[in-house]
Structures are given as structure tokens and as C-alpha cells.
Amino acid sequence: MNAATLHPLARDYLKRLKKAARRLPRARRNELIGEIESHLTEALPAGASGAEALNVLERLGGPEQIVAEAESEAKETPRPGMRESLAVILLLFGGFLFLVGWFVGLHLLWSSRFWTMRDKLVGALLVPGGLLPAVVLDGAGVQTCGRGRKGAPPECTPYISPTLRAVMIAGLIVLIVLPVISAVYLSWRSRRSRIALS
């Protein structure tokens, strides 16, 4: 930008800002200096008096203060990490780790700040144990059907009526689909960009 037309006091200020901003990452530094430079250009019309310039600079605050703010902003960019990925995986498969894994996942889910209360309830209730209930139901219902003798229709022990079988298969599908949907939902919600409260 046209730094040459800036008020001498503003030019001096920019010089001090550039010096203070050396410790910022380059992209962050260029963005900050660019924004402050346009601020000075907008705030100080050509031929502004020294008093006007001092006023504008005072409202702006010292270069050190601005750079310190930029530094603290740089540190607190919350991103979901290992804990969040682990929570989703354990909620889905942790049931197979002696069920304890699922509880560990539940704890990780509950202690994370990347999910709202509603997300946490979805994660906890859909479905407790993750995929484990589906496997249990599968073991209880489908596997008890034995092979029929010599061309006779298959025998099931204990006998399960076709209606009950249909209900069990439907239940099985629900118990597989729900935890998977819940896991996809949780990872989507954790990655949704959000801003930390100041």
C-alpha cells in the first residue's frame, strides 16, 4: 500500500509494529501489518494534523499490546485432536474391549469441549455399548437355528417364529446402523468450526 502518503507519526508507528511483529508467524504477521496499515490510511486523511494522528494512534493501542494479543490468539486455536478421535472409535468398538473400552470412550466424550450436551447425549444413548449389542443379539437369535434333518425344513432350537425372526433382524439392522450414524455425527460435530468463548 502507499505507505509514502501516510502521516510521519503513522509511518513511525508502523515501523515499530513491524519490529514487534517479528516474532509472529509470517502469514499472521503480514495479515496484521496489512490491516493496521489500512486502518491508518482510512483513519488519517492526507494532511491530518499531528494531534489527529496522535489521537488515532492512541485509540489503536501500542504495537506491543497488539502483537501480544495476536500471539495469544495464535495459541488458542482449539482443534479436535487424538482424544476426540479415540472417543468416537471407542464408543463404536470399545464394547468389545471387555465393555471397559466403551466406558473410556464415554468418559472422553463427556470431558471434551468439542461437543455440546446434545451431542454428548446422542453419543451416549445411541447406542450404549456401541456395536456390542448388535453382536449379542446376533449371537442370541440367528445362531440358534440348526440345520434340518434329511430334507426336512430347518429346525431351530429354541423355536423362533418367523415374526420374531423378522423383528430380530430389523433390530439387528437398527443396532448396527444407529451406532455408525452416531459415530459419523459425532466426528462431524467435533470438526465443525467454532470459536472459543473469551
Binding site: 500500500m1 499472521r28 496484521l32 493501542g61 501500542g62 497488539i66 490468539e73 486455536t77
Partner: protein, 100 residues
């Protein structure tokens, strides 16, 4: 809290940095130093709640305009609801104090 004021200022359309900063600092007690708002704007941009684009200015160099993203709009809406109930709760106690 200032983050949400920025998002609210952008609800009806885009604004350039200086315009945002001046509007905020004109409200007493809101901002101590105008310069510290620029790192905040940068954070909002990196968080994906606002996006920026350069536009020619009728006078002087091009301006960087800020506008809400759809995620920013969602964040603002969620906050508006939370804020309303929080404000009502605080008012409830303040009013009680007064009448007691």
C-alpha cells in the same frame, strides 16, 4: 463476547475491517484498544466463521471485507438463543434484589 458482536455486525452484510473496528469502539466500554480487534478478526477468519475478500475502495487502496459464512451464521444463531436465556436469568435475580 466481542466475537459475537462482530458476527452480529456482519449479519446484514459485509463490512471492511476499519468500519467494523470503528463501529465497535464507538460503543463505550466495549473495546480498550482498536488495534487488538484485528488479531480477533484474524482468529474468526481462521475459525471459518467469517471469510474475507478484497474490494476496490472509492478512495484509496483496496479494502479487505469480512462477511459471515454459513457456519458463522449458525454460531451467531446458537449464541443469540443462549444469550437471551442467560440475560433473562440474570435479570431475574437483579429484579429480585431491587424489589427485596
Amino acid at each position: 463476547m466481542i466475537e459475537y458482536c462482530v458476527l452480529a455486525l456482519l449479519r446484514d452484510g459485509e463490512r471492511y475491517g476499519f468500519e467494523l473496528v470503528r463501529t465497535l469502539s464507538e460503543v463505550p466500554g466495549m473495546v480498550t484498544s482498536e488495534g487488538t480487534l484485528y488479531p480477533l478478526l484474524s482468529r474468526l477468519r481462521r475459525a471459518g466463521v467469517v471469510e474475507t475478500s478484497w474490494r476496490e475502495s472509492p478512495s484509496g487502496p483496496p479494502r479487505r471485507y469480512y462477511r459471515l459464512t454459513s457456519s458463522g451464521r449458525a454460531v451467531l444463531e446458537a449464541f443469540s438463543g443462549e444469550w437471551a436465556s442467560f440475560r433473562n436469568a440474570v435479570d431475574h435475580f437483579l429484579e429480585q434484589e431491587k424489589t427485596a
